[in-house]
Homo-oligomer: 258 residues x 2
């Protein structure tokens, strides 16, 4: 199994605090030592860092953790390999361009027989079932909509339908983004928290680090963090229900199937 | 205009020395201060670093320059913007997946009317004519070969034909890779050097740094470096002729149209 971390914010926000907690689970407080990756959107642009080293030992993780990259959408993943070798090409998040935007995908879980599904125009580079599932999803999406649908709701419902299909094929906790929206599907385990005014303090579960959000935010900020397990001990996280699908934009829920 | 740097090697090799020279041209010894990017292949896997900051000031460039990432193929680019704003999404190298491998592309030059060409299944995310040209090329390639051609020569000749078409549309010095081969097209200016036994010493043109390759290589190593302008002062670089197209694999030329 793996751990996921996502962020959706209405102002460019750095993820240093949450990431410090997550990478500890990459070999120190958790067993997810088979690589690590993160994607930061800046508008339509995307920075992506991948490393097959354990998160807690990775020089790249250490560097990125301290780099105050400000982003409106972040997707990160630390890997405990079950399918596919520990190699750079198998490190999430995966990226493909659809309709002139970069889509990124990170997955926690395992699919049964996903590789017997036929693919459309996207093919996996690595050997994970996760990347295969991502290619399957985007192939179906682009076949159904050669051009992006006019109404967001149509897009969200279609993506939700495909994610539910994946859910039926195995454990599929998924974070997905198209540079505007952050899509989250919970198969077994996923939590989120939305931080907004009045801001408080928080302390990491996995490292001896606390932050006072009042000092690093402005009153209008709205920042949602999504993680496999809550990252802080003194805040109330919301737990997804199994099978639940939600979409965030600028820190706010714009679609929910519940 | 921009500057290009590429490497093709028969053993995983770091590019720290050449990169140190290149990034100086990103705002110090050269005017290419509008961003910087590099892609490292490790097998089929790809690490890519992008930064819209000037190369010489970029924290990411400084970090990557010292990170001894060993790779068989590298493509790097420092940008002096002429078309497209200075933004992350406009930073080379660009990446797309074709036939289950990552293709990367970096371009020095400028095209006339490239955006009136119709595109296939790949669309640009940013606003540069370079990314547009890359999408055009891959769209044509995948339309002609829905599956990769069996013979490498057929692939090389086809890519060469498309690159010559681009050359007719403007200045198009190009580095392109498919994770196995490094394709280089010279429109106006491009040089290369192949380092192999017996190795010697070299000194950078752009920084006070020398290296003794005898100390960092083994006798069987073969490493080709391609750059817009020679990076060292005491080695003999080969100059491409305008219109020349060559392909390297594992440090060795596998296709040349001359």
């Amino acid at each position: 199994m793996c751990e996921l971390l996502g962020m959706s914010a209405n102002v460019p926000t750095d993820i240093c605090f949450s990431l410090t907690g997550l990478v500890q689970r990459g070999g120190k407080t958790g067993p997810h030592k088979d690589g690590w990756g993160i994607g930061f959107y800046e508008g339509k642009g995307l920075r992506i860092f991948h490393d097959p080293e354990p998160g807690v030992e990775s020089k790249i993780a250490e560097f990125v953790r301290k780099l105050p990259i400000k982003s409106e959408i972040v997707i990160s993943h630390i890997r405990k390999a079950n399918r596919g070798k520990v190699e750079l090409k198998n490190t999430h998040p995966f990226v493909r361009e659809v309709w002139g935007t970069y889509w990124t995908f990170a997955h926690n879980g395992q699919f049964k027989k996903i590789k017997s599904e036929s693919l459309g125009e996207f093919l996996p580079v690595g050997t994970t079932d996760s990347e295969y599932a991502f290619c399957w999803l985007l192939g179906k999406l682009k076949k159904k909509f050669p051009h992006p649908p006019h109404r967001d709701r149509e897009l969200f419902q279609t993506v939700g339908t495909y994610l539910r299909e994946l859910h039926r094929k195995g454990v599929s906790n998924i974070l997905l983004s198209d540079s505007k929206n952050l899509y989250a599907f919970c198969s077994t385990k996923l939590s989120w928290i939305t931080r907004q005014s009045p801001f408080g303090k928080a302390r990491l579960v996995d490292a001896d680090l606390a932050v006072d959000f009042r000092k690093v935010t402005t009153p209008g900020d709205k920042v949602t963090v999504i993680a496999t397990q809550p990252l802080t001990s003194d805040e109330e996280w919301n737990r997804f229900q199994p099978g639940q699908f939600q979409v965030w934009r600028k820190g706010r829920i714009v679609f929910s199937d519940r």
